[in-house]
């Protein structure tokens, strides 16, 4: 038997995430791939709650709990300081949620990407402000229920990957906890690239998505297989590579497992399917090669 995957964890047990937390899975996998020579930046969010109350912490690498909208420039400050100190072998990773990335932190992320500071930015997207108790963000998908969109979100999810691509940064990729090897391979790739790397990481929140606590990985896989969340990379803002050919399951198999979509009407599901199909076609046109993934799913 081979256990190549059993590298040490840098997210320690005993953290305060809800049972089944997708974000905890995401951070665990990312930190594991990054390894011990890493400094991480987190922002006020569930990342802070997971971090633990003084004097205990779940983070096994030096971690700075910065302010909400500045994950990127904080990480950039550290990265540049390390460069000055000649400690560039240390990776700097910024973790921010969808609120901290799509909304309040977008400007500062843009600034860092424009400067191409040498950081890895991981957006842990759970599609709403979950830490404050489920409020709509610009990453919330159309029609989804949140505490501030009780009738369903009237607007579509912002396309953060296209915003990042517009910065011509060396590498951006989507990933999800449902495909852990793909995710970790992308992180390993990032370790070899200088400049601003961006990972849009779909990390379901069982609490906020109104679903059972054992469903985070499965729902992430369904997000990919329904093309709701395709796995792809953008190199230098122009080379698009699709990493995985989805099975193309109908969107309702993804939507209807989640309480936040349970009120959806038939027309709304059809509209989502239409939007998803259109986006997928657009992506395919931009992409070089159809789909291959080194990970074997079976």
């Amino acid at each position: 038997m081979k256990f190549p995957q059993q590298q040490p964890h840098f997210l320690r047990p005993g953290h305060a995430a809800c049972p089944g937390c997708g974000l905890a899975i995401a951070m665990k996998l990312v930190l594991q791939a990054l390894g011990p020579r890493t400094i991480s930046v987190i922002v006020p969010s569930c990342e802070g709650a997971i971090g633990g109350v003084y004097p205990f912490t779940s983070y096994g690498v030096p971690t700075f709990h910065s302010a909400f909208e500045i994950a990127a420039p904080t990480a950039a400050g550290i990265a540049n300081a390390l460069k000055i100190q000649g400690r560039e072998d240390i990776q700097v990773v910024a973790f921010a949620g969808d609120g901290g990335t799509f909304d309040i932190g977008l400007q500062s992320l843009s600034g860092v990407a424009k400067n191409n500071d040498n950081i890895l930015y991981v957006c842990l997207d759970n599609e709403a402000y979950m830490n404050t108790g489920i409020q709509v963000s610009s990453a919330t998908p159309a029609y989804a229920w949140t505490g501030t969109t009780p009738e369903g979100n009237p607007r579509r999810k912002k396309n953060i990957m296209e915003i990042m691509a517009a910065h011509y940064n060396p590498y951006s990729a989507t990933a999800t906890i449902g495909f852990p090897q793909d995710l970790q391979q992308k992180i390993l790739k990032c370790k070899t690239i200088r400049g601003t790397k961006f990972i849009h990481l779909l990390s379901p929140c069982p609490t906020g998505w109104r679903m059972p606590s054992d469903l985070s990985p499965e729902i992430s896989i369904l997000a990919v297989e329904t093309k709701v969340f395709p796995l792809y990379e953008v190199w230098e803002g122009k080379r698009y590579i699709i990493n995985y050919e989805p099975r193309g399951l109908p969107v309702e198999v993804y939507l209807l497992k989640q309480g936040r979509f349970k009120h959806l009407k038939k027309e709304q599901i059809e509209q989502i399917q239409k939007d998803v199909d259109e986006e997928w076609e657009r992506l395919k046109q931009k992409a070089e090669q159809p789909a291959s993934i080194s990970q074997s799913l079976r």
């Binding site: 011990p36 020579r37 890493t38 400094i39 930046v41 802070g48 709650a49 971090g51 633990g52 109350v53 003084y54 004097p55 912490t57 983070y59 096994g60 690498v61 030096p62 971690t63 700075f64 709990h65 910065s66 302010a67 909208e69 500045i70 990127a72 420039p73 904080t74 990480a75 950039a76 400050g77 550290i78 540049n80 300081a81 390390l82 460069k83 000055i84 100190q85 240390i90 400007q107 500062s108 843009s110 600034g111 860092v112 424009k114 400067n115 500071d117």
Partner: protein, 383 residues
């Protein structure tokens, strides 16, 4: 070596001499010349380090805090709206106990719009936990940058140096630029004990229980209090090495004065002229310049103003609903004074209005005439 340079360029020289390797900034009038000059040196290689051209002042401060916690010396410069945008991070910086040094060119805050000198921008950040210094001229600004690093890096608190728009930032004056090796001798390399260390991973700035938050606030206050002692010691050392010193402030002809003018910033220079003229006319007038505003040098002020009957504080700033901010601070410092001096708070130069020696002379004569306390601030509207 004396050079004829602006206050902004004097600041830039100070930063370069401190070998500050990480500078993060964003352009804003009237600070931009500092940013440009440092960029010029970065491009030419005279400044060894990294210039982070952030997309906002807020991010500039975020980067400075993070870099400082990583263990490098950092600098930023801003003004007015930019400083206001930074507000959140100013608290964060002092909470993180990072010795970031920042220069703020005092400019009025909108609205309405204007670019002129007014100290409200930095004074409205007085509760953010930063050491604050107010400079009279370019030379003092340059020297204060060097001194501020030493003070900040000893007490682990950030320091903000303010100089007024145009009157100081753009005015060209002869400035003595110290030799690099002299500055190197004066300012040791940064040694930050609590920096990020992959060998001993820690979680910085965790959530803490209420009692602990209180205790750390108290600890920070103790450090801030110690600045009064540290700053004087550093200034003494500086004076010894460079022949110039500024102290926590400066008392000019106060010993026999029946009235003392209290100023901060460039109005001090104007006041020096006014005092000289008034003395020639036979008035026993003195001048007290306040350099350190945070921590407020309460004991020093009490000592310098002991026995004085009349004090005229000039404020180029105003807190709506209250008064001039230096005036408030001074009244608070002297509230237990046995002498019960009459303290008059003159508001002059708001929005960059020019304050001339004549304005100050008129003010002094006005104050000398008064026999009763005046609760309200007295607005000078000449000019």
């Amino acid at each position: 070596m004396k050079s004829f340079i602006t206050g902004n360029h004097a600041v830039a020289y100070g930063v370069k001499l401190c070998r500050t390797p990480l500078i993060a900034a964003y352009p804003i009038t009237p600070q931009t010349a500092i940013y440009e000059k440092l960029s010029e040196w970065e491009a030419s290689g005279e400044l060894k380090g990294i210039m982070m051209r952030t997309e906002s002042e807020h991010s500039a401060m975020a980067s400075c805090i993070a870099a400082s916690l990583t263990g490098v010396r950092t600098f930023t410069a801003t003004s007015s709206q930019g400083l206001a945008l930074m507000h959140e991070m100013l608290h964060f910086a002092s909470g993180c106990r990072v010795p970031v040094v920042m220069v703020n060119v005092n400019r009025l805050l909108a609205a309405p719009w204007g670019f002129w000198a007014d100290q409200l921008d930095s004074l409205s950040q007085r509760d953010t936990g930063w050491i604050q210094l107010y400079c009279e001229n370019g030379q003092e600004a340059l020297d204060s940058v060097i001194q501020a690093y030493r003070v900040a890096e000893e007490v682990f608190l950030p320091a903000m140096i303010s100089l007024e728009a145009f009157f100081v930032s753009h005015a060209m004056e002869p400035v003595d630029i110290p030799e690099q090796d002299e500055v190197d001798r004066f300012l040791p390399p940064l040694n930050l004990p609590h920096r990020f260390d992959v060998e001993r991973p820690g979680f910085f700035v965790p959530v803490v229980p209420s009692e602990l938050y209180r205790d750390y606030r108290h600890l920070a206050q103790q450090s801030m209090e110690s600045v009064k002692e540290v700053a004087q010691r550093v200034d003494e050392a500086f004076k010894k090495q460079f022949g110039r010193g500024y102290g926590l402030g400066e008392a000019v002809m106060t010993e026999d004065a029946e009235l003392v003018i209290v100023t901060a910033g460039s109005i001090t220079s104007t006041s020096r002229v006014a005092v000289k003229i008034l003395r020639e006319k036979g008035y026993r007038v003195g001048l007290l310049k306040i350099r350190y505003f945070r921590p407020f040098p309460r004991e020093w002020v009490q000592q310098k103003l002991r026995g004085k009957k009349k004090i005229a504080v000039i404020d180029r700033n105003f807190s709506l609903g209250s008064g001039g901010i230096f005036g408030q601070e001074l009244k608070a410092a002297l509230v237990h004074s046995q002498d019960h001096p009459l303290i008059f708070n003159y508001i002059a130069g708001i929005g960059g209005v020019d304050v001339t020696p004549e304005t100050i002379q008129d003010m002094v004569l006005d104050a000398l005439k008064r026999r009763e306390p005046v609760e309200e601030s007295i607005w000078i509207k000449e000019g």
